[in-house]
């Protein structure tokens, strides 16, 4: 059966995009309900903990928080349909604008962390699988275990004390926009990206190892060797390519988690990212901000999953045959 042209993989893409609509609707409604189940009043947060009840009630009325919940939900959904994600109660700015301000930070951190995670995690996984049950396998898996086990908060603080305070090599925190220069931008993000990568790296190495172990002794790999292909060529061009599906899946999951933001790393390194935005919004009961941001994150997750499926189709010709 001939391979279908690659562009035909785009057919299901459109279907998946349409399927995303009900998913996002469920995300919107569930987020709204969960937020409103939380005790605490955003009007009281805005007024301050020393404000009298009359002031709080006035703010509630001004913000429409005194209306029945179904009415508030319908109003929000109607606004969403018109592209209005609402206005943050605490920040007093549009939700889209608040997210847009923080997106470069989160994307920078996520991409840099992924660029560290992918090559190291995959190489470690391949090495560990190829040299399974040797000291190389043991060391690599031990390092991976340490990476997933050590609390990122602790690693982050230690890293700051060593690389920033003692050695003075890297800043203690803060974000430098890319527009201010590539070197300062990179210098500000290296530490948080590495700390974030440690956990992902261990996870990716373990998954890559498992996937490689499944394919290394398959017939087509033995055939490649028998045909005179070099050992590493057989491993990388044949075995690894067939182990890519679960690796791509894990990569998609890792990227989704990174886009969602790592609150701990953002907190320690004072990075104004989306993770911190969402957590602060929850703590301060900023309903529109959390609802809007969760919906945008849901859209991002759907998009990333779609991207993973497209990559599957590009990598595995069996998925393109139509």
């Amino acid at each position: 059966m001939a391979d279908a042209p690659r562009w035909r993989a785009l057919g299901p893409v459109a279907i998946r995009m349409l399927q995303a609509v009900p998913i996002l609707l469920v995300v919107a409604i569930v987020t709204f309900m969960l937020l409103h189940l939380l005790p605490g009043d955003p009007a009281a947060v805005i007024a301050g903990d020393q404000a009298p009840p009359e002031a709080i009630d006035r703010i509630r009325r001004q913000l429409g928080l005194d209306r029945p919940l179904p009415e508030q939900l319908l109003q929000w959904l109607w606004n969403l349909a018109r592209g209005d994600f609402g206005r943050s109660l605490i920040l007093n700015q549009p939700v889209l604008s608040a997210v847009a301000e923080r997106l470069p930070v989160t994307l920078s951190l996520a991409v840099l962390s992924l660029l560290i995670t992918l090559p190291i995690g995959i190489v470690f996984g391949i090495l560990s699988a190829y040299y399974r049950n040797t000291w190389i396998d043991t060391v690599v898996m031990l390092l991976a275990l340490v990476g997933v086990s050590l609390p990122s908060f602790w690693i982050a603080i230690l890293s700051v004390l060593l690389f920033s305070v003692t050695l003075g090599w890297l800043p203690t925190g803060g974000y430098v926009p890319l527009a201010a220069g590539f070197a300062p931008w990179l210098r500000a993000l290296v530490q948080p990206a590495v700390v974030l990568a440690l956990f992902q790296l261990g996870y990716l190495a373990r998954m890559t190892r498992s996937a490689m172990l499944e394919v290394l002794n398959r017939e087509f790999v033995r055939t490649a060797r028998a045909k005179g292909l070099g050992e590493w060529a057989a491993v990388t061009r044949h075995a690894f390519r067939n182990a890519l599906i679960p690796v791509v899946t894990v990569t998609g999951i890792i990227l989704s988690l990174l886009i969602g933001g790592s609150i701990i790393v953002e907190q320690v390194f004072s990075l104004p990212g989306i993770g911190r935005l969402v957590v602060q919004g929850i703590l301060l009961r900023d309903y529109p901000l959390v609802q809007g941001t969760m919906l945008l994150l849901g859209f991002a997750f759907v998009f990333l999953n779609l991207l993973v499926d497209v990559v599957f189709a590009l990598v595995d010709p069996r998925l393109r045959r139509g």
């Binding site: 005790p39 009043d41 301050g48 903990d49 404000a51 009298p52 002031a55 605490i90 004390l161 104004p272």
Partner: protein, 511 residues
């Protein structure tokens, strides 16, 4: 070559002449301050947390402000006089004071600011007693009150939701939508939420030449630095690390255990602001069983301030009153007999008298501030030792605060920290006490607060407050625990920084 040297000398000489013979040279530079969090607003009328209060008091000023000892002092006003029965207050304004947009501050701006305050601030009750405003001339404001208020000047210098002056053009701006234009020694620079905020030196600032030095939010404010940059660094370790790495000059709110790491370091100083706040426990009087005064008194009887202070781990000292000792209304005799009784046996007697039959007593606290949680944990154990049935609940601070603010009947015992109320005293405490404890129909307390507000003589107000405090503590609506402070660290290159309620960056140099 000779010509160049000559030009340089002439230029230097001119610079000396222009700057004023004998004037101190400016050092300039930027102070970087690693603070815990950023403000949510710079609208002064809605500024309620410490960072908001600190920043707005660099940008804006009031007619009256707090002096170093937390008394009202004229700032934009030259003088303030009250009539005999404290129903009219005349503010005589300074001439030539400029807003940062170049406009002169006049009575019209003062009245517009007060009117806006009455519309948008959560503290509108402050001006609820105002009957009318009058401006006999552009530099005089007369505030007429409906009823006597002997502490109106004290109320005007409230640290929370401060009454600071805006240009009249801002009068109709909704809450949190003002332009950041004040008369203060710093002007607004840049604000990147969750990242940093910068205030720049106001080179056109008109200092009050009749005052001298740093004096609370008053005084003669001379700005030496070019700018102050507040970096928002939520993690305490990261703040101290930033200072030690040379990325910040000041690290705010340093926990005592981290302050120890600065000991012995030549470049840094750890300074304590004391007192900074008070730790106070509230007992809800609208929710059984603490609607019974004997039950509340039993809870007060088991309180051991030493144990609670140890558990909380703050830089704290025992002090029985809910005023600080330098308040003109302070009298330890009103409070000392009710403080830290640590008497389980007496508590048991009170419970027996009350007919207590093991009804659940909800102790509500939060995990957001471990010191608050640990304080009430210690109290709960003491309550149990006296035979009380305690339901210890931990929520987050917002839920905890909301339950107290609303006087919800979901709690009997809770706590919070108060940094502003103790500074000015009784009139600041009143709304908190009545809302949180839900006290109603207490004729003694009502009369005492009424007398405090309406008695013109300080001695009479002091006596009235004594009545109120004895009632509050005696009937255990309120249980005082401690005064506590906070620490901050700074680089020794910063000169002139004085420990106080807020940091002030005038009369400070960065060498």
């Amino acid at each position: 070559m000779v010509r160049q040297i000559a030009h340089a000398c002439i230029g230097a000489a001119l610079a000396l002449v222009v700057s004023g013979a004998g004037a101190q040279p400016r050092h300039g530079g930027t102070i970087v301050y690693a603070n815990t969090a950023g403000p949510s607003t710079l609208d002064p009328f809605l500024s309620g947390n410490t960072i908001e209060i600190e920043v707005v008091n660099q940008i804006y000023e009031g007619m009256l402000v707090l002096d170093e000892h937390y008394h009202p002092k004229p700032m934009l006003a030259r003088a303030v006089e009250a009539n005999a029965d404290a129903t009219a207050f005349t503010f005589t304004l300074r001439h030539g004071v400029k807003f940062q947009n170049g406009k002169e501050f006049t009575a019209a701006d003062a009245i517009a600011s007060l009117q806006r305050y009455g519309k948008v601030s959560p503290n509108t009750v402050l001006l609820a007693n105002v009957a009318s405003y009058e401006t006999p001339d552009p530099y005089t404001v007369v505030v007429h009150l409906k009823q006597t208020n002997a502490v109106f000047k004290d109320m005007l210098v409230t640290p929370i939701y401060p009454v600071l002056m805006l240009p009249a053009e801002q009068a109709d701006k909704p809450a949190r939508e003002v332009d950041f234009i004040g008369t203060g020694p710093f002007r607004f620079g840049e604000w990147v939420r969750d990242s940093h905020l910068t205030i720049n030196r106001n080179s056109d600032y008109v200092a009050d030449e009749t005052q001298s030095g740093t004096d609370g939010y008053a005084g003669r404010k001379i700005v030496d630095v070019d700018a102050v940059r507040y970096n928002f660094v939520p993690e305490a370790n990261a703040r101290v690390a930033a200072m030690r790495a040379g990325e910040a000059d000041i690290a705010g709110i340093v926990p005592p255990e981290l302050a120890k790491t600065l000991a012995g370091q030549d470049n840094f100083v750890a300074q304590t602001v004391f007192p900074g706040c008070m730790s106070v426990i509230f007992l809800q009087s609208a929710n059984p069983p603490t609607d019974n005064p004997l039950i509340r008194e039993a809870i007060a009887a088991v309180t051991n301030a030493d144990d609670i202070i140890d558990a909380a781990g703050l830089v704290a000292k025992k002090q029985s009153s809910i005023l600080y000792a330098d308040s003109p209304y302070y009298d330890s005799k009103s409070s000392s007999s009710y403080y830290s009784q640590n008497n389980i046996a007496h508590a048991k007697e009170l419970l027996a008298q009350a007919g207590y039959k093991g009804e659940k007593i909800v102790v509500l606290t939060n995990g957001t501030y471990p010191a608050m949680r640990d304080s009430l944990l210690v109290l709960s154990e003491a309550m149990k030792a006296a035979g009380m049935n305690v339901d210890f609940q931990v929520v987050d601070f917002i839920t905890n605060g909301n339950a107290m603010q609303r006087g919800l009947k979901t709690w009997n015992v809770s706590t919070s920290w108060f940094c502003s109320q103790p500074l000015l005293g009784p009139q600041q405490w009143r709304p908190i006490i009545y809302n949180y404890t839900q006290v109603t129909g207490n004729a003694v307390l009502d009369a005492a607060f009424q007398n405090f507000t309406t008695k013109v003589r300080v001695e009479d107000r002091k006596a009235a407050w004594g009545e109120a405090e004895r009632e509050l503590l005696g009937k255990a609506y309120v249980v005082k625990i401690s005064d506590f402070g906070w620490m901050y660290g700074y680089n020794r290159r910063i000169k002139g920084l004085q420990p106080w309620y807020s940091l002030r960056f005038w009369n400070v140099t960065a060498q």
